[in-house]
Amino acid sequence: MNELFIQIVLGISIASTPLIFAAIGELVVERSGVLNLGLEGMMIVGAITGFAVQFHYNNVVLAVLASIVAGMMLATVFAFLTQVLLTNHVATGLALTLFGLGVSAFWGRSYSKVTVDRIDAINIPGLSDLPVVGPLVFSYDPLFYLSIMAVFLVWYFLNKTKKGLILRAIGDNHDAAHAIGHKVVRYRFLAILFGGAMAGLGGVYLSLVQVPIWVEGMTAGRGWIALALVVFASWQPFKVIVGALIFGGISILQLHAQGYGVNVDAQYLSMLPYLMTIIVLVTLRVRSKSKSDRVMPHCLGKVFHSTQ
C-alpha cells in the first residue's frame, strides 16, 4: 500500500509538471496584463523541437534549451504583434495556437517513427534510497525540480522585487504605470517571452519525460487546461502547484479507481477541472468584493496604447 501511494504520487507529479510549467509562465504573462491564448501552440512546438534535438544530438540539456528557445520564438511573434502592433490578444493568441499545431505537425512528420532516450529521474546516492522520503522527495526527474523552482522564483519575483511590483502595477493599470514612467511594452514583451520559455518546457516534458515519442497533437488540450489552471490558482504562484496536483490528480486517480473496479463516469469526471475553475472564479469575485482586493489583473487582455 505504501509503495502504491508513492507510485501514485509519482504518477500525479508526471501528469502535473507540464501543467505547472505552462501555467506559471502564463501566470506572469497575465499578471502583466496580457492574455496569451497561444499556450497550446507554444507547448507543442516546444515538444517537437526538444524531441528532434534529442533525436539528432542525444543531448538532454541541448534538447531542453532548444525547446525553451522554440517556445520563445513563437512568443516573440505574439509579443511583437500584440505589444508593438497592438493587435487583439484573443485573436493573436488563437492564431498562435493554430500556427503552432500546424507547424509542429508539418515539421514533425519524419519523427513519428522514432524513439529517443528519455530524461530519467535523478538518483542521489544515499538520499534517493531513504525509505519513503527518498522516493517522495529525491527521486523525480530534473525538470520536475525545475518546475517547482520556477514557481518559487516567480513568487519571489512578483512579491519581493521592485520589478515584480512594477509588473503587477502594469497589469493592474497600464495607463497609470505608463504615466509614472514605467516601460509598459518592455515589461510585457519580456513577460511574454518568459511565458513562451515555460510553455516550451511544458511541451518538452511531454515528449521527453512523460513518453519519449512524438505524435501530432500530443499536447491534447493541456495548454487549455493550463490556462484554466492560472485562473484556478487565482493568479497566485504557489496555488498553481496545488491546482496542478488537483487537476493532474483527478486524471491519475480516476485511472486508479477504474483499476480497482470502481465504475467511473469518465466524461462527467473530466468536466470537473473546468467546472471547478468557474466556481473558483465566482468565489474569488464574491470574496474580493468584501475584501476590496482585486486578484485578477485588471488590465488583462486589454490593448495598451501609449498615446492614450
Binding site: 507510485q7 524513439t115 477504474q258 483499476g259 480497482y260 463516469d265
Partner: protein
C-alpha cells in the same frame, strides 16, 4: 446570370476533360484511394492501413495509382474528401474508420460507379463492401500467453471506448487467460480516446502500480508499450509490430494485415469482378497476424501459442466456446456452443463471468 454562365462553361470544360481522360483508359492504371482517421505516423491503426496500401502498390506496380488522405475528420469533411477522390477518377475508395459509415453511405449513393470499402461498419450497398477482422482471435492468443507469463496474476487492460469490438477483445483475452490460469484477474481502464499517448502512459503506469505485470491495450499509440519496457513488464503490440518501442517488453503483437485483402479488392475492380461483400476475416485468412514471438517465452508457452495459432488458422478453435456465462451469472453459451456473428458477437455489450468491473454506462 453571369455566375450561371461561368459555371456552365466550367462544366463543359470539365466534361471535355473527363472525356479526354476516359478515352485512353485501357492502359491506364487503376486508381485506388485510402482515407485515414489519424496520421500515418500513429504506428497503430492508420499506420497499418497505410502498410496495406503500400502492399497493393508493391504488387501491382504501374497498374495502380494510389492516393491516401490522412487525418480526415469523421463527418461532413469525410464525405467531401470521398467525393473529391471520386471526382479525381478513383475507382475504389477505402474508408478506414467506423465513423465514416454514414458519410460513405452518402458518397456511395452519389457515385454509384465508384466502389467503396468501409472498415468495421455494418451498412452495405451494391457499391459498398464492409470488412473487418476477427481481432478477438488475436486477443485469445495473447490472453493465453498473458495467463502463463504473469507472476502477479494481474493483467492491465487499456480500453478506448465501450463499443462491441473492444468488449469482445476484453472478454476473449480474459477467457483465454483464465483457461490457463484460474487465479487471473483483469483490471480494465477506459481512457475514452483512441490516441492520447500521455493518457495511455498514465493508465499503463496506474495499472503497473496496482500490481499488473502484463499490459494489454486497445488504443493506438506506443505509449503503453514504452511504459511496460521501462518498468520491466510485458506488453503486446496493438495493430502493428511495436517491438522497436519495447524490445524486451513485447511478447508478440496482434498485427492487422490488410494488404492481401486490399490487393484482392483492387484487382477485382481492375478485372471487373468486384461485388459488394461482407468480410470478417481472422487468423485463418491471414488478416489477423502475429509479430514474432519473443525469446522470453519459455518453450511450453511458445508451443502453446503456436498450437493455438495453428488451430485458429485451421478453423478448429473458436475463442468463444461454451460453457460461458455472462457476468451476472446467466447462461450465454452451452457447452461446446459457439456464438453466431450476429447478434452475439457484433453487438456484444456484456462482460463474461469473472470479470470484476463494469462497462461504463
Amino acid at each position: 446570370m453571369y455566375k450561371k454562365g461561368l459555371t456552365n462553361s466550367i462544366k463543359v470544360f470539365m466534361t471535355s476533360c473527363i472525356l479526354f481522360v476516359s478515352s485512353g483508359a485501357a492502359a491506364e492504371p487503376t486508381k485506388a484511394a485510402f482515407i485515414y482517421i489519424g496520421p500515418t505516423g500513429d504506428h497503430g491503426w492508420t499506420y497499418q492501413h497505410d502498410v496495406g496500401a503500400k502492399y497493393v502498390k508493391k504488387h501491382m506496380g504501374d497498374d495502380v495509382e494510389i492516393t491516401t488522405v490522412e487525418s480526415v475528420e469523421e463527418g461532413p469533411d469525410a464525405e467531401r474528401v470521398m467525393a473529391q477522390l471520386a471526382n479525381k477518377g478513383n475507382e475504389i475508395i477505402f474508408t478506414t474508420s467506423f465513423g465514416y459509415m454514414n458519410p460513405t453511405l452518402k458518397a456511395a449513393k452519389r457515385f454509384p460507379n465508384v466502389k467503396f470499402e468501409h472498415a468495421t461498419g455494418y451498412k452495405r450497398l451494391d457499391n459498398i463492401s464492409t470488412y473487418s477482422a476477427r481481432f478477438y482471435e488475436g486477443r485469445h492468443v495473447i490472453g493465453k500467453i498473458a495467463g502463463k507469463m504473469t507472476k502477479t496474476n494481474v493483467i492491465g487492460y487499456i480500453a478506448s471506448f465501450p463499443i462491441p469490438e473492444v468488449i469482445r477483445g476484453i472478454n476473449a483475452s480474459y477467457l483465454a487467460a483464465k483457461s490457463v490460469n484460474p487465479d487471473i484477474q483483469i483490471k480494465i481502464v477506459w481512457v475514452f480516446s483512441w490516441f492520447d499517448p500521455g493518457k495511455e502512459a498514465d493508465a499503463a503506469k496506474a495499472m503497473i502500480d496496482q500490481g499488473a505485470d502484463i499490459i494489454m491495450q486497445h488504443t493506438d499509440s506506443t505509449a503503453a508499450m514504452m511504459m511496460a519496457e521501462e518498468n520491466g513488464m510485458y506488453a503486446f503490440g496493438q495493430a502493428s509490430d511495436m517491438g522497436s518501442f519495447g524490445p524486451n517488453a513485447q511478447l508478440t503483437a496482434i498485427i492487422d494485415d490488410w494488404g492481401p485483402y486490399y490487393l484482392q479488392r483492387v484487382q477485382a475492380v481492375r478485372n471487373g469482378t468486384w461485388e459488394s461483400i461482407d468480410t470478417f476475416d481472422g487468423v485463418r485468412e491471414g488478416m489477423v497476424a502475429f509479430a514474432p514471438l519473443s525469446d522470453r517465452l519459455p518453450a511450453d508457452v511458445r508451443a502453446m501459442a503456436l498450437q493455438d495459432i495453428g488451430e485458429l488458422a485451421a478453423g478448429t478453435l473458436h475463442p468463444f466456446t461454451g460453457p460461458i456465462n455472462k457476468q451476472d451469472g446467466s447462461a450465454w453459451l452451452a457447452a461446446g456452443e459457439t456464438p453466431p456473428m450476429f447478434p452475439d458477437l457484433l453487438t456484444m455489450d456484456f462482460y463474461v463471468e469473472g470479470i470484476d468491473s463494469k462497462i461504463p454506462q
